[in-house]
Subunit: 351 residues, 2 copies
Amino acid sequence: MIRNDTLLRALRREPTPHTPVWLMRQAGRYLPEYNRTRARAGSFMALAQNPELATEVTIQPLDRYPLDAAILFSDILTIPDAMGLGLSFAEGEGPRFARTTRDEASIGELAVPDMAKLAYVFDAVGSIKRALAGRVPLIGFAGSPFTLACSMIEGGGSDDYATVRRMAAARPDLLGRLVDTNARAVAAYLREQIIAGADAVMIFDTWGGLLTSAAYRRHSLAPMRAVLASLAADPRTAAVPTIVFTKGGVGWLDELAASGASAVGLDWTVDLAAARARCGDRVALQGNLDPLVLLTDPATVAREARAVVEAAGPAPGHVFNLGHGIVPGTPPENVAALVETVHTASAALRR
Amino acid sequence: MIRNDTLLRALRREPTPHTPVWLMRQAGRYLPEYNRTRARAGSFMALAQNPELATEVTIQPLDRYPLDAAILFSDILTIPDAMGLGLSFAEGEGPRFARTTRDEASIGELAVPDMAKLAYVFDAVGSIKRALAGRVPLIGFAGSPFTLACSMIEGGGSDDYATVRRMAAARPDLLGRLVDTNARAVAAYLREQIIAGADAVMIFDTWGGLLTSAAYRRHSLAPMRAVLASLAADPRTAAVPTIVFTKGGVGWLDELAASGASAVGLDWTVDLAAARARCGDRVALQGNLDPLVLLTDPATVAREARAVVEAAGPAPGHVFNLGHGIVPGTPPENVAALVETVHTASAALRR
């Protein structure tokens, strides 16, 4: 049993005494204790692949702040790594793949990886669940099929994902095969995370917002729907709440609300009150403070956090979060002010 | 009199035999003739500040393609340069200002610049109008008050405009003073461009889409509305069509349609058919091919351009454009395929 289950209740749009809050990248470089564990691990991937250390960093923010959820410490690129693309993180740079996946041959030979190659992730889920001991729920996650495709096609990060966008126009068939393979891999991966103990799962669609509307529907939304449908069809996973988040996706809010997910994540540019009016009670909403507000001061953080709580309103079905991940320079005391404000302001709003 | 006035008629939502087409950054580095003139000028700013050479590069794309409009060759940062901030373009890098404008003192002393300092722009407008000799309309432009503020605050370009976003949260009063000063400058600047001969004007809000909804309304939309209201209130400028373009602004489409502009520009992520349904006949719409489609091949360009023409539908009030500027690596023959396709497909659609 989970003692603080406000997250799960909010995702099901059930009343809660306060708005639950967790933060994308809540375990990360803004925390000195994270940096110490990271240094001990030697590298980012060594940290992510060591269930004991991944557990340690997952729990760290919960020991500092009364957060309402833990999120698995991992990386979205574990799947393409398990597909054999040779992931590495050079110091001070983003992820790189040894091989790109952008032609008939490389996309044709791509297959859903053996989930045994990702056992370190599921072991981390189990280890974190034991460490949490029912304190709060654990959120599992994956990158969206399209967002994974972005890194696989470009061979890493990119300023404009030009190769991806060219492929969406010139070879939609090829991109479609890639994202469909990724969708099967993501569904299998989230299923195993749930079986290992994840209480909710989130799909991070970081790059779907770069696409034209037609390409978004085919290459980002449709494969996410396929993942959600796969989880909904399996009795082992059907009851677990799901969150889908397309950064820059406000134009497709109605479609995201109808995607089959329990909740839709909103980036910081979205008018949360308008989104709530638009979605009605179809889904829970998650978000959406600008993460850079956490670079200011506790008073500003409190004021802006209250504005988000008030925009969400007193109705059930809001999970407080940032509109994107915490940035490394965030002062930890600002996060304390944020969590405190969300709890007190949302409890007051309900009275 | 303008012989091909399809742009102006489309901006007024009057019927035209075909959809007019022009392209953001149609005079630019993808054209070898532009690069030759640019080399003769010595630097980007020398080119922009020389009316004769600015005229030459403005006309170049019209001599290659049957485009339906010319757009003044200039830069949005001419205004802060005239404010005395010391603009420079280092070779291979973006713009830099010698001074930032982010504290009480620097924002307090900022003033609308003497338009005489921008005479080179208005001289270029007059010179281009003479060179066009009524061939097509000339579009003048300015950066939005907020987009100018972004560069002034950061001292140049930025990955995330973190200082701006922090200021929007912590010092909205200060940011408000800056954008309001910029709005008065932009209004004066566009007024002079119109008096010098510009047939339509466009406001480029490149960075408004980075803001929270509340901050967008206060710091980007409101000052743009002030600019548009100022032009509408002056008998010398009231009749000239206006275009407003917020990149990443789909969430505020209704508000942009009610901003007072004749037309709303749409980036490539927007569903043009849905935008048309939403805006009804309140405004013309401009856009919105993904500029990276121009990096593919003529057949793909033609297919994607037809899709945009069809999404816009046969009703009056569509100006074809890209969803952002042409990128330097664009093959000129792809632009030829684009313009040809827009003209033939849109003429066919009307029959």
